[in-house]
Symmetry: C2
């Protein structure tokens, strides 16, 4: 049974292996996990020895089917727990990511099944991130249109928030841009790097990089 450290490594690799080959550099992992590059090399070697991933020295790392399956299970746990914390325990939207970060390693499959059932087998968590089911290799990230890339003036619906940091989520909450909200891009100015949107509660303004973290759908 992998330790929670190993589970965090698996998750970090999975989330960052979006391209076809699914290779992640050890440097990117060091950055993501907040440890030194040497630590990554050491851990990666031991995980490779355990069959969780393959390591091409100086190239990068790729999950094996087993590693990938385990990583997906952890992500599933994380997202179901987040959903549970919001819907059942009524916790604040911007706190649950941090809480789930700890709980995902402590919750058994038995408990997870109960949670999943109580929630009615949800397809997405409170940030709009899809919840992988027990077998599907789902994990699309940033495939869709965002507030930075959509056509202006169209009626949109917020689908997903691609940044779980507390300050960003707080801004989202304050401005009413949470998943499900209706929104329309009134004006986007490449020169000033500003996006101005209309929504029910009024108007809001944000920078282009921030707008790129809000996935939307024409509605």
């Amino acid at each position: 049974m992998p330790t929670s450290t190993v589970e965090n490594y698996l998750k970090a690799i999975l989330v960052r292996s979006s391209d076809e080959v699914g290779v992640v550099s050890t440097g990117a992992l060091a950055e993501a996990l907040g440890v030194t590059p040497g630590t990554i090399t050491t851990m990666v070697k031991s995980m490779a020895a355990r069959g969780l991933l393959e390591h091409q020295p100086r190239e990068g790392v790729r999950l094996t089917p087993e590693g990938r399956a385990h990583a997906l299970a952890v992500v599933r746990k994380h997202r179901l727990v987040e959903t549970f914390l919001v819907q059942v325990l009524q916790m604040d939207w911007k706190e649950v990511h941090q809480e789930a970060e700890a709980l995902e390693h402590a919750i058994s499959d038995r408990v997870l099944l109960k949670i999943d059932a109580i929630l009615g087998h949800p397809a997405a968590d409170p940030h709009g991130d899809p919840i992988p089911s027990r077998k599907s290799p789902v994990l699309g990230r940033g495939k869709g249109v965002t507030l930075a890339s959509c056509e202006p003036q169209k009626q949109l619906r917020v689908e997903r928030i691609l940044d779980q940091s507390a300050p960003f989520l707080e801004f989202i909450q304050k401005s009413g841009l949470m998943p499900g909200a209706r929104v329309r891009v009134r004006e986007r100015d490449r020169a000033s790097g500003v996006v101005r949107c209309d929504l029910k509660e009024g108007e809001t303004t944000l920078g282009l990089p921030e707008a790129a973290k809000i996935e939307v759908k024409v509605s």
Copy 2:
């Protein structure tokens, strides 16, 4: 912040320091925690250095106020989680102890507050163990009468089960001796070591050591 290992040591000491002085031998801890005596000595020294307990070599160990407070917080977490798993997640009575053993180290105080509120601030967990509140030094164990020590023929009510092992809990469940159940000792035979009880569902028989694990109250 203590690691979960340290929290388990604290809990083990608290639960075993029932007498006045509150001293626990390192041998008893080794037994309880399933590690070798040498390991206990080492850990105990480092915990003493951190101010969580006092260690009289070859005498035993006693929690400091700080250690005791932390131990109580862990026990509170454990018992609230157990109650939550049974009442909200509808989990099986005999599974929740094991689950809570992991969750008690991962759940934040924020989440605990929500759980406590949803449950309506319960005073006891599903086994009848009292849930310490944030300040009270409550932790009586085995103070009351048990099926092995009560007067026969009296109408009793099961208060508390003093053994969380799955096989024992299964027996309790099967025979209907769960907390709250009405029961009467029909006959107790010291020679054969057998206690025979009547309850609504019929009759049940158990050994004296087992009967001593069932705390009751005259009703």
